[in-house]
């Protein structure tokens, strides 16, 4: 039987090898990190395939790997609904966001929103939106990391959270985006090959026919596992969650930041094609892992270790590959969380130092050395904050927190980004109103939802009937941005639109050599 909570020597060694390897990467990266462009954007020298892997790495968090495999193992088809929701955002990213973002900005998506608007008010608002998204995403990852390490290595939750925070701090602080990107690439390759090997070992028992695996699951647990179940009970809630997942991807600061690490718009575009192929393939693999765990490990055994099902993939690894393979998969899962936390922290540091300190307090004129110093100070603050948040929010539902981060990203960041790039009459006040409304309304509706009012506070009724606010907050956020802009036109912003259009196609003047 699986020995959760017992230190597994191979898992420990795999984990330590990954940390040493990633610190070596950090050491090399640190020697190449001299300017802010190196620190935030890896010098703009990442190739399409590398960026595709890094984007996939940022996106395939432990929530995807452990969470979706667990969901499929316990409820079958319903797990697929989540995978699809996470994937359909990518066509939106490539069609509407990737290239214009690359050509208009330098380090953060606020660069784009503030392009032709007044810098200070827009940057304060969009940095607030970014930080709200990052905070919830960080909480989810830290809580996931703490639980995972406690289960796999037998370490205390608080110690596990502190280790993640400390190691991640080293990557970001010394290696900046170069280290963060390469750690992400290494992790993406490890995660993909781990999931692929595991899926092949499962399929080997079903003569490499996934349908035989699904049929075995249906035979053992009834045909209901192949059909939609109770996960989607309310259509409004389902569509609301779906829209948040779809448009949230295009508003995640740590994903958007990756488009600045490539040399041009074309590379940005091609890197999304790679990322989507990798992520899509990975989600299909997790589906096989989920059903494999359902059949080979058994639902009762999975629930026995963790009621949420999050240990389905590691348990499956032990059944088909023994202790050694369990160790490998556990180390990979841990590497996954570490890399995602590093990416999030870097995006947060960029919002704090590039948007707030440099552009608001120093009005865009700060020496390179000072900017780097502030960025590193912001990294330390965020690392400490993420450790504290991880400990304070112990026991929260990981998938729900990630869903929350997507809802804020879709309502606060996405509308302002789209309007600033494609709608000429957009104004500074409109951007401010749209971003702040999106952030506050999403948080408020979530607080009034049954999830908080009934499940958490044990009230009998909730002020707002739905658990997912996206269906209401996304259109309203667009509407408010439009109405406020039309109410008080801003001639300077309208005049700047021609330059913005020019730059969307040709890139920044100094780069268009």
């Amino acid at each position: 039987m699986p020995q959760s909570g017992q230190p597994n020597i191979i898992a420990m060694s795999g984990f330590i090898i990954f940390i040493v390897l990633s610190l070596v990467i950090t050491w090399f990266a640190a020697r190449r990190t001299r300017s802010t462009k190196d620190f935030y954007a890896a010098g703009g020298s990442i190739t399409a395939l590398q960026n595709g892997l890094a984007l996939a790495g940022d996106y395939m968090s432990a929530a995807s790997f452990l969470g979706i495999a667990g969901l499929v193992a316990l409820s079958g088809f319903d797990g697929l609904i989540y995978s699809i929701g996470f994937l359909v955002g990518w066509p939106v990213v490539v069609c509407l966001i990737a290239e214009p973002l690359r050509n208009l900005g330098r380090f953060t998506f606020s660069d784009v929103v503030a392009f032709r608007l007044r810098q200070t008010p827009v940057r304060v608002a969009s940095a607030a939106g970014s930080l709200a998204v990052i905070a919830f995403y960080l909480i989810a990852q830290m809580v996931g990391a703490g639980n995972l390490i406690r289960l796999l290595f037998g370490l205390d939750y608080e110690i596990a959270v502190a280790i993640v925070g400390a190691v991640m701090l080293a990557y970001v602080l010394f290696g900046g985006m170069i280290a963060t990107t390469w750690v992400q690439i290494v992790k993406a390759v490890l995660l993909l090959s781990g999931a692929f090997m595991l899926a092949m070992m499962v399929l080997a028992r079903f003569s490499f026919n996934p349908l035989a695996l699904f049929a075995a699951a249906a035979e053992q647990y009834g045909p209901a596992v192949l059909a939609p179940g109770r996960l989607v009970s309310d259509p409004v809630d389902a569509i609301s969650l779906g829209l948040a997942l779809m448009f949230g991807t295009a508003g995640l600061p740590h994903i958007l930041m990756r488009f600045y690490t490539v040399p041009d718009g074309r590379t940005a575009r091609v890197s999304v094609a790679y990322a989507t192929a990798i992520i899509g393939g990975f989600y299909l693999l997790t589906f096989i892992l989920g059903f494999g765990a359902m059949v080979l490990v058994g639902q009762d055994a999975i629930r026995g270790v963790d009621v949420g099902g999050n240990m389905a993939a590691p348990l499956l690894a032990e059944v088909v590959g023994g202790q050694a393979f369990l160790g490998f998969i556990a180390a990979v899962a841990f590497a996954t969380i570490l890399a995602v936390v590093a990416g999030l922290t870097l995006a947060g540091a960029a919002a704090l130092s590039h948007d707030i300190y440099v552009n608001v307090f120093r009005h865009g004129h700060a020496p390179e050395k000072e900017q780097l110093m502030v960025a590193r100070a912001a990294t330390i603050v965020l690392a400490l904050l993420s450790i504290v948040l991880g400990i304070v929010f112990k026991g929260q539902n990981v998938a729900y927190m990630v869903g929350l981060a997507f809802a804020i990203a879709a309502s606060a960041n996405f509308p302002a980004l789209i309007l600033s790039m494609f709608w000429q009459p957009f104004t500074t006040r409109g951007a401010q109103a749209s971003i702040l409304f999106g952030t506050v309304a999403t948080l408020a509706l979530i607080w009034m939802s049954p999830t908080i009012q009934i499940d958490l506070l044990k009230h009998t009724t909730a002020y707002f009937p739905y658990r997912n606010p996206g269906l209401f907050t996304i259109p309203l956020s667009f509407l408010i941005g439009i109405v406020v802009s039309l109410a008080a036109p801003e001639p300077a912003a309208v005049a700047g639109f021609a330059k913005l259009e020019q730059q969307i196609h040709f890139g920044a003047p100094d780069e268009a050599a």
């Binding site: 990518w90 066509p91 069609c95 045909p223 094609a273 899509g280 494609f422």
Partner: protein, 96 residues
């Protein structure tokens, strides 16, 4: 200059139109899939061949569709848009 400016407007509109069509296609397909899940669970539970329900087939097709839409966009922009932008830029530079 005015010629290259008007060519840029046309090109920009063409790319914008493609982006809107592909984004709308993805949204409609995805929302339709969710609506099917919400309103007709038994239909999606129909077993086509042992082990394969209609729901799983459609779900995999949605994932494949997302990828196909991205490939359409990347292929069109790589083959047409990039070339046209380079043309306009060169014409603009020679004109100066």
């Amino acid at each position: 200059m005015s010629d290259s400016a008007s060519r840029l407007v046309t090109l920009s509109a063409a790319r914008w139109r493609l982006s809107i069509i592909l984004t709308a296609a993805m949204t409609i397909i995805y929302v339709a899939f969710i609506l099917l899940i919400a309103f007709n669970k038994p239909l999606l539970g129909t077993v086509l061949v042992p082990g394969l329900s209609l729901g799983i087939l459609l779900g995999v097709l949605v994932i494949v569709t997302a990828w196909v839409l991205i490939m359409i966009y990347v292929r069109w922009t790589n083959a047409n848009y990039d070339v046209a932008v380079a043309d306009i830029r060169n014409a603009h530079r020679e004109g100066r």
